[in-house]
Subunit: 473 residues, 2 copies
């Protein structure tokens, strides 16, 4: 969406690139050849060569190159190129690297960078600065930009207000196509490229939208309100980005108008921003289920270690509870050590079946296949049925194997029964835990996995050792 | 992107909808009120009321409504509305429901539906039909459509050729803006809305693209080749959809031209199709890591049960190997049953730390943060360091707790040492398993989790029980 400013009549040749056919083999990340050449140029201190090597690259590819350099070379690279880097390159960097670069820039430098970015990227960059630097950068901006960005910073993180850009084209409903084209040709201060025009009433409230291609195809005397789509969903600025992503996916939108509390148009969210959100949200679910907070690849080891501690503590508590359950049966195990051999089986099968169910349920909640108006009873019943079917199959297999291994029909029976009990529980808990968490207003992904496996471990050990105590001793 | 055909000068009023402000609380899925009203109307056999209730809804919302109905009501609803449903509604349905609807339609009916869909949705629908029905539907189509769709079906599943639509606007490089506008106004057979024009040479090969807004803003005498972007990435039709999604994300594209083996333009992939792909790919990773094949919510229980068996079998083999390891220490456990109590702790901590590492690594491979030119040694070293840091912390905590619980310094020492050993292994295996699988050409997500936990279980039990045998007996 963004890109160098293009006046009418100038072809885009600043990067000297031409049409190229994509080669899947060489698509991802910087090539080894490029990395080697840049490393060699850095080692030789040949600054012009470094600049020549990165000159034809897209800003996103320059950011990838920086991320792939060894830490000491990266430092050298940034020292050399910092002042020559395109603002877009910096906003493509991973967070910890971006902070590294931004920390070394003066407020005036940052301010000139901010003015070149789209307003959504500019807000992203500003919000990570400490309060004082942020203030200094804002003071260095032209008044109009400052006002826009200060406003942007007031919206909650991950809201439509943060996602939107202020640059948009909005026109009065009674204009006709001819007036519109003349205006667009004559006005210099417009977004680089845009895909929908918004039609406003006198109070700045949106009445509809017109795809640009439709303007192009209509006669000059046609009024905008005759060709506009009136099926328009206005997004309040404080709407969560997850809801925004849902709207785009559900209705195949290219852009959506954002309005303030008074219903006035203040910005537009475009589909390229939503692509990023969808990616982030799906990844968040995944990482939350396994208990990883963040995937910043460039964070130091101690930061990553600390981020992962939280879930390991949960696991610790989980296993201590399970150990306590087992300790109640220490005597039984002392008499019959075969139980210790088979005991992890019931817990593991229940745990894994449960994680399958919980993952499917969390995704169904995230993609809104399960909603407040869903019939929860039907969903739980289905998973109980699935759990029972598989439980019976595996109970027969493992009961038989366990019985044969230790030459005891009773032991096989105990193992099979405990397995059925635990896998049916897994089907029930795997659906109800996330649904209940969602109803209570928590994120259903966070911690659902550990919470579930605590129950399946404890129940698995308890059922197996308990039945063994009753029937085998 | 899609929508009812709009001639110039006609406002979109067929659904009778107007501008509405999004309410996050009522955004997701059909409201309970709507569901109740539709259910009541179905129960009363009031067909006109059912039709009235769904008339103002977007096709995607009608599809959601159908998915939320109870199975018997759904059947009734489809019996009543099947012939009145918009083709777009049917292509929004989940796969098993779509099959249900499509199976009951005659080839001629299907053919008329196919002609109303965009070519990518039409191919999606056709590929699920059995060969004979597919043939009959194709025979019922106009020759031009048939040729397009037959060609579409020849591209590999999940390729750019399947994702693209044939409907696009491509013009000669020497045309000027005036000629372009006149042509677009005069030609009826064009896509509903479009965002980029493609500029071709005499051999149908793309030279560049022009955002529609740029045409609108340029003078009538400007030639297209003066305002086109020459930085164009041509996507061969057999390119995998994952690579296509990467292109859109990396370069913020709105559309990308698809070419045949001769480099001729044959279609265009638009960003709304890519949104779906990104969603699917992220979900696939998540589901593969926990071993669930599919999340089709409307499949019968026995189908779902069968889909989940594969990973449960892997878990079964895993736990049997672990049980075998434990069985080698049966005598030790018989003498010292406290070992059975503490034994799951080492395995669980190593397993969970490992799943964290493996998830981060799989995602980094999927988002191309790790590429063939990455320094794998650095990544593995970082995770080993993270593993060691957390291992020491938890070894001290759990070693102390375990020692106090059973009043044995030796036992605490054994527990702590085994934990360090297993968590460092988890850091090493969690990074190397997916990276090696990727290098060997396998999907790094599939089965990586179970394979890893097999190693951490076995090593955890072996290290703990082995050290105990050496030092405590």
């Amino acid at each position: 969406m963004t890109g160098p400013e293009l006046g009418p009549g100038t072809a885009q040749t600043d990067r000297g690139t031409v049409v190229e056919t994509v080669d899947e083999e060489e698509l991802y990340g910087p090539s080894e050849e490029l990395l080697e050449n840049v490393s060699a140029a850095l080692a030789a201190g040949d600054i012009p060569l470094v600049e020549n090597l990165i000159e034809p690259l897209h800003p996103a590819d320059v950011a990838d190159l920086i991320e792939h350099l060894e830490p000491d070379q990266r430092k050298l690279f940034l020292d050399i190129t910092r002042h020559a880097l395109e603002p877009e390159t910096i906003s493509h960097l991973d967070e910890s690297l971006r902070d590294e670069v931004v920390d070394q820039m003066a407020p005036a430098e940052l301010a000139s960078m901010v003015t070149e970015l789209d307003s959504d990227d500019a807000v992203d960059l500003l919000e990570d600065l400490d309060d004082e630097t942020q203030r200094q950068v804002l003071d260095n901006l032209p008044a109009a930009d400052r006002l826009y960005l200060e406003q942007g910073l007031t919206y909650p993180e991950d809201s439509a207000g943060r996602l939107m850009q202020r640059e948009l084209v909005a026109l009065p409903a009674l204009w006709n196509v001819g007036e519109t084209i003349d205006y667009l040709r004559a006005t210099a201060d417009l977004p680089d490229d845009f895909y929908d025009l918004f039609v406003l009433d006198a109070a700045q409230k949106p009445l509809g939208s017109v795809p640009v291609s439709r303007v192009l195809r209509s006669k000059r005397e046609t009024k905008l309100n005759e060709i506009m789509d009136e099926e328009l969903r206005l997004v309040p600025a404080d709407t969560d980005q997850e809801a925004v992503a849902y709207l785009f996916r559900q209705y195949g939108l290219m852009s959506a108008p954002v309005v303030d509390a008074g219903g006035r148009l203040i910005g537009v969210v475009t589909v390229d921003d939503v692509v990023r959100v969808i990616d982030e949200e799906a990844e968040e679910d995944l990482l939350n289920i396994v208990g990883v907070g963040d995937t910043d690849f460039h964070a130091p080891a101690y930061v990553t270690a600390f981020q992962r501690v939280r879930w390991l503590v949960v696991t610790l508590v989980n296993t201590l509870i399970a150990a306590f359950v087992i300790s109640r049966f220490e005597d039984t195990i002392g008499h019959y050590p075969a139980l210790a051999v088979l005991m992890p089986i019931t817990a593991a099968m229940g745990g894994n079946a449960g994680v399958q169910v919980i993952t499917v349920t969390v995704r169904a909640l995230a993609t809104r296949e399960i909603t407040p108006s869903s019939n929860v009873g039907r969903i739980v019943m289905k998973e109980l049925t699935v759990g029972l079917m598989n439980a019976i199959v595996f109970a027969v297999i493992l009961g038989t194997l366990g019985g044969l291994w230790f030459g005891s029909v009773g032991l096989g029976f105990v193992l099979g029964s405990a397995m059925i009990f635990n896998m049916v529980w897994a089907g029930f808990a795997g659906t109800t835990i996330p649904i209940v968490m969602e109803k209570l207003g928590f994120d259903p992904a966070t911690g659902a996995g550990p919470f579930l496996t605590t129950t399946t471990d404890c129940l698995g050990f308890f059922a197996f050792l308990g039945l063994a105590t009753l029937f085998l001793t």
